[in-house]
Every structure is written in structure tokens, then in C-alpha cells.
């Protein structure tokens, strides 16, 4: 499936976030999803279309029903975004390590007897 939209855009909308929550518990058909919201079925249908385009929902046909199934792996992109903060600190702690090595070398130079 071609993902034509950005996952961050998908979760930016509160209704779409709520749809994701509902689906995290079980697959639901369109009507069952729409029943949870005040807005029109058309509006929900459009949100689902966006989530499908982002690869977060896959439609499974079962007889006459069309079930929305969650495929949340693309949300790992969000995890990666959060991970960059961890990378900042990894870099800083590396620098502290190098700094400590330098401090110790200087300490040894000036201080033979300790």
C-alpha cells in the first residue's frame, strides 16, 4: 500500500486520534466507528480515508461488511521522533567521556606523586 500522507498529520486531528483508540481495542466496521461520534458518517469516512492513506488502517471485507483493522507500525515513526531526544543525550555523555579522559591526562602531567 502506498503511503501518501504523513503519520504525524494523521494523528494531529483529535477525531482521528479517537478512531485509533477505538481500533486499538478491536476491529470495527464503519458504522460502528461512526456511532461513537456526533459528526456525520461522511466526515468519519473522510477521516478513515486519511488513516488508510497513512497506512494506519487497512480495510478488510467480510461478506458485506468492511472492517477497519489497525496497523499501527507506522506509529513507530513517532517513536523515532521522540528518540532523537535520547540521541542528544547520548552525544553529550560521549563528550563528557572524552572530557574526563583529557582531565585525567592533564592531572597526570602535573602530578607525578599524586
Amino acid at each position: 500500500m502506498e503511503i501518501r500522507r504523513d503519520v504525524f498529520q494523521a494523528i494531529a486531528d483529535p477525531t482521528r486520534r479517537e478512531i485509533i483508540h477505538l481500533l486499538s481495542r478491536q476491529s470495527l466496521n464503519l458504522n460502528a466507528i461512526a456511532d461513537n461520534f456526533q459528526v456525520s458518517r461522511q466526515a468519519i469516512s473522510l477521516h478513515i480515508k486519511i488513516l488508510v492513506e497513512c497506512g494506519l488502517i487497512v480495510i478488510r471485507k467480510q461478506g458485506r461488511e468492511r472492517y477497519c483493522e489497525p496497523h499501527f507500525e507506522p506509529l513507530n515513526q513517532v517513536a523515532d521522533w521522540v528518540d532523537q531526544y535520547k540521541n542528544f543525550w547520548e552525544g553529550r555523555l560521549d563528550k563528557i567521556g572524552l572530557l574526563l579522559q583529557e582531565m585525567q591526562k592533564k592531572g597526570q602531567k602535573g602530578n607525578k606523586d599524586n
Binding site: F72, E73, Y85, G91, L100, M103, Q104
Partner: protein, 157 residues
């Protein structure tokens, strides 16, 4: 939902030496900031209730822009633990909201940062930095992504 970022290192150094890298301005300037960035300023007021102002400067290819952060020290147990709150700031040390600095709205504010120092013996010290940041919606969805990957291993809804 809170996201905890935690990194840890073991250094072949004494606690006193590692502690100094967090309290001495000239040492802080040597490591604060990502690779290629320099730290042109570290105005340190190391005491509970004190606020330090640190700067990181981007390299030329990123416009030499300077980003300021403030560290407000909440708790200090000498040679053991530092708890501080990080925020973005202006050059005068006033706290700024991320959007004022063109950061995304979900960029965390008031980041509680806990730094611990542990003597492992044999001249080794373990340093751990933990950031408690509320990444807003982001961390919750990151969690969902992870759970789904684990669920694929065979649970039935």
C-alpha cells in the same frame, strides 16, 4: 503521558571528577550541545533554587544560531544527585515557550532532568541522565506503535 528518556555511562573516573563536569562552567562548555555545536556561554549558579544559563551555538552551515537553555536546580545532593528543570530561554535567561522560538508545539517544556552519580568502585563512576518530558500526544502514539508490533506476535483481539 510522560516519556522518560534515559541514558547512562560508566566512566573510568572518580565521582568528584564526573561531578565537576556538571558544576564547573569551563567544563560544562566542553560538552553541552550536540556534535558540531559549540557552547559559547555557561553562566552557572549551582545551588538549590539557582538558575544556570547555558548556550549552544549552531555551526556556520546552520547560521551560527544560538539557543539558550536555563537549568533551575530543584535538588542537589552533593556527589550523588542533581535534579533540575530545563527550559528554552532567551539570552537574558527568561523562560521562553517553544513556539516563540519556532519549535514545534509539542516540544517539551519544564523538562525535569535527574542526574545521578554512582561509585562502582575500582575508580569507576556510573552517570545516569533521565529526562521526564511530556511529549504531549506523541509519546502515547509511540507507545501504541510499539504495542501493535508486540501484538502481532499472536494475540487475538
Amino acid at each position: 503521558m510522560e516519556k522518560v528518556v534515559q541514558v547512562t555511562r560508566v566512566y573510568p573516573a572518580t565521582i568528584a571528577q564526573v561531578w565537576a563536569t556538571w558544576t564547573e562552567p569551563e567544563l560544562i562548555k566542553r560538552w553541552w550541545g550536540p556534535a558540531l555545536f559549540t557552547c559559547p556561554q555557561a553562566r552557572i549558579d549551582f545551588r538549590e533554587g539557582g538558575v544556570s544559563l547555558v548556550a549552544m551555538q549552531a555551526p556556520e552551515q546552520m547560521g551560527n544560531v544560538v539557543f539558550y537553555s536555563i537549568w533551575e536546580y530543584k535538588k542537589i545532593i552533593p556527589q550523588q544527585r542533581i535534579e533540575l528543570i530545563q527550559n528554552l530561554a532567551d539570552s537574558a535567561g527568561n523562560k521562553m515557550k517553544p513556539v516563540q522560538l519556532n519549535m514545534p508545539a509539542d516540544f517539551p517544556e519544564d523538562v525535569l532532568t535527574v542526574i545521578t552519580f554512582k561509585d562502582l568502585g575500582n575508580g569507576k563512576t556510573e552517570l545516569t541522565v533521565t529526562e521526564h518530558a511530556d511529549f504531549g500526544q506523541m509519546s502515547h502514539f509511540a507507545q501504541l506503535g510499539l504495542e501493535q508490533s508486540l501484538d502481532k506476535m499472536g494475540s487475538i483481539w
